[in-house]
Symmetry: C2
Subunit: 440 residues, 2 copies
């Protein structure tokens, strides 16, 4: 994992942190990793700020789950009210799920008119695979080289970012991310489509019919690739020509984060067959879902029994509805666009001063800063990325890193992040860049 705390360094931490680490290790075991050279022990959060046990305030430029802001009062109130009234499942009639589903579907193109609720992005990716395979009668799946779509057995088989110890399925092919910095070919969209076509052909040569192309429409784990908007269209054409469907993974770019549109695929002028959403949907409550073209879903829905105990429960739907209301009331997508663009410009200015920055990419509040060893080879510099991430943490700013080698800073604040917050971040970023560059 990028930016993981190394437990071997626990002795450098204070006694309180060491005690918590020992308790974690004992009951949670080794799957549970922590961020940062010095882990952060959090006790409360509000808006774009998080607070540790010593009362230090951190500017959150990382967490996309509490998307409308940590502990947003409107969302808290909606959850509080519903949890005291009724929390049950979808085999009884309940109106709130319908009100929410209608409002959510209203943010999509009209072809996408059915929703199925689950609890996590992983469950949703898994469901989308089942539906796509049922609809196409095929099994082949195409993903990008550092894709992450979740952690069920089936989904981990299409998530190369999980690393060499989690094998890809034999019916899975990967294509290079649409990398405009290091990729070959001048036209990103044409190159990406050509690679998808080659993957289709290779599957076919192995006797595997292709069921779906699935991409995160901002390519988060691949290192953030947003531009030029529209580049996805030729690849979507290619997958459909081969009889497959296009699945848009909107877990990261969805819910207005890109600033340009509610959903990342809309920036590319395409309409997916299935859409996966999750993380920010309930501002932290476990709710996720799949939006589908009815004709793609129909046969699966009629024949395969699918019931998700907690999926679409009234409390999670209340949270989901409140999130949409806050986004409207506070014009958060517009904020992501304007402040995100201001932030990206500020970072681009830093890129002109610091040769360690190879490229600044992204849309709205999803920005990637690609760190390189030099401006000629563009060789990734993951060590420098980690030093910056930890340098910012010392300055009470939370960000992360991503990309195949962890060399891309992942800048992804809650949506109410203001212009002042952006100035605060940019100034700390410049400071950290200066200090870490001097140590090079």
């Amino acid at each position: 994992m990028v930016n993981a705390f190394n437990p071997a360094n626990a002795e450098n931490l204070d006694a309180g942190l060491r005690a918590l680490l020992a308790r974690r290790q004992k009951v949670l075991g080794p799957s549970y990793k922590l961020f940062y050279e010095e882990p952060v022990h959090l006790v409360r959060a509000e808006g774009v700020y998080m607070f540790d046990a010593q009362g230090n305030r951190y500017l959150d430029v990382y967490n996309n789950v509490p998307s409308v802001g940590h502990c947003h009062p409107h969302v808290v109130e909606a959850i509080t009210k519903q949890v005291a009234t009724l929390n049950t499942h979808t085999r009884y009639l309940h109106e709130l799920i319908l009100t929410y589903a209608e409002k959510l579907i209203g943010t999509f193109p009209p072809e996408l008119s059915n929703v199925m609720f689950t609890c996590t992005g992983s469950e949703t990716s898994d469901l989308a695979l089942r539906v796509a395979r049922n609809f196409t009668g095929a099994t082949g799946i195409i993903v990008t080289e550092t894709a992450y779509h979740g952690i069920t057995s089936a989904v981990s088989e299409i998530s190369p970012s999980l690393g060499e110890h989690v094998p890809l399925g034999q019916h899975v092919r990967t294509v290079p991310a649409p990398d405009s910095l290091r990729g070959e070919g001048a036209d990103v969209g044409e190159t990406f489509a050509r690679n998808v076509q080659a993957a289709i052909d290779d599957l076919k040569r192995h006797g595997v019919k292709v069921a779906a192309l699935i991409v995160d429409t901002i390519f988060s784990s691949d290192g953030v690739y947003a531009d030029p908007a529209g580049f996805l269209a030729p690849a979507v054409d290619a997958i459909r020509r081969a009889g497959g469907v296009f699945i848009a993974d909107e877990v990261q770019p969805g819910f207005g984060r890109t600033g340009d549109a509610m959903w990342g695929f809309q920036r590319h002028g395409v309409v997916p067959d299935l859409v996966i959403m999750g993380k920010p949907m309930g501002n932290g409550l476990p709710i996720a879902g799949m939006i589908a073209k009815p004709e793609v879903l129909q046969d699966f829905a009629l024949r395969a029994r699918y019931f998700n105990t907690f999926g679409g429960n009234p409390v999670c739907c209340a949270a989901g509805l409140a999130v949409l209301e806050v986004m409207e009331n506070e014009q958060l997508m517009q904020n992501a666009k304007s402040v995100g663009s201001y932030m990206k410009q500020g970072l681009a200015e830093l890129a002109r001063q610091y040769t360690s920055i190879g490229q600044v990419r992204g849309a709205g509040f999803f920005i990637g800063v690609d760190l390189v060893k030099d401006q000629e080879s563009h060789e990734p510099d993951p060590d420098f990325a980690i030093r910056l991430v930890n340098g910012l943490r010392k300055r009470f700013i939370l960000i992360g890193a991503s990309g195949p080698e962890g060399h891309v800073l992942k800048i992804r604040p809650p949506l109410p992040f203001s212009r002042q917050n952006a100035e605060h971040f940019l100034s700390a970023m410049e400071d950290a860049l200066r200090e870490e560059s001097a140590r090079q």
Copy 2:
């Protein structure tokens, strides 16, 4: 699905229900099924009661998710407080997850000392499959004939209760449920173990090494099989002799429901290698988890990256901790034992009067009433089961049905169900039995 509303009968319903049905069909699509000939439109719930839009009060003898009672004030308060304070993920240090994990693990035998949090039983079953296969280096899985363990791609392959349109995996074998009414062999445990051994041998003959035996320790979807306590032990021995692990699915029997013990496997005097839990864990919030022997989990946890965004978040952990506190404070396991036993006796008395009852089975607050066409053949009578379920619904009592043909009444109230509630239920049950028997 057992007890599913048939949309073709919508015209018999009042205009309000018809309007809700039309909205559901439009946005949710055909996967979403409703219970009962006349669906129930719920608006609030409290303790063991649920209320519909007309203000009718229903006695809840079905819902095991709101296990400590609908909208329990202590759980509501814990959620309300935490959701306004902090909701984040496990890559920062947070104390509540540790306090909860320690208390939860304290309810297990000492060998089972690691927990991994997820959001749903399905996610947990899927994780347990990954861990079991990683530990054993094998793929074969043995389940019961009407098992249900969840709805991911991998888990639906081991869930025969999903029906013929969801194929079992080629590495999956089923064994008959430990049926003391219709099964062959006087000794349930010996018969069950013999069947498990035959499945192991058959897998081997097909070149498949067995990874795990996984059972719901009260065999809910198979029709509720609880006795004689201890019958699981020989099958667990058999799977271990073959190099496989034993996975206890405690989603249904866990959290004190059987009255005899916190976990269903404890009634059988066995210690599983992995334990799956879910539904009642957060009284309705999506939280689930896997408890593991560290040596079984270790290699997977060290090598395969596994992170669950919402799993173990502070709000869901607060709900989980509050559930354990309420169970202690209100002695709910003891209540399940005493009132459950009273209820089972009352049902056994009805069985002496009504030949349509073939057997009353179960432990604590998980009781199955097996309905038969006659006392000689014990041929299942699913039609009569559905009539009773709907007859009780007309009497404002909510129960369900289960088993391979849906002929077993599923009686599974929230744990604070009192002796008076049991009397209320038994009296309505007698009434419904009398009326429906007269119509036979």
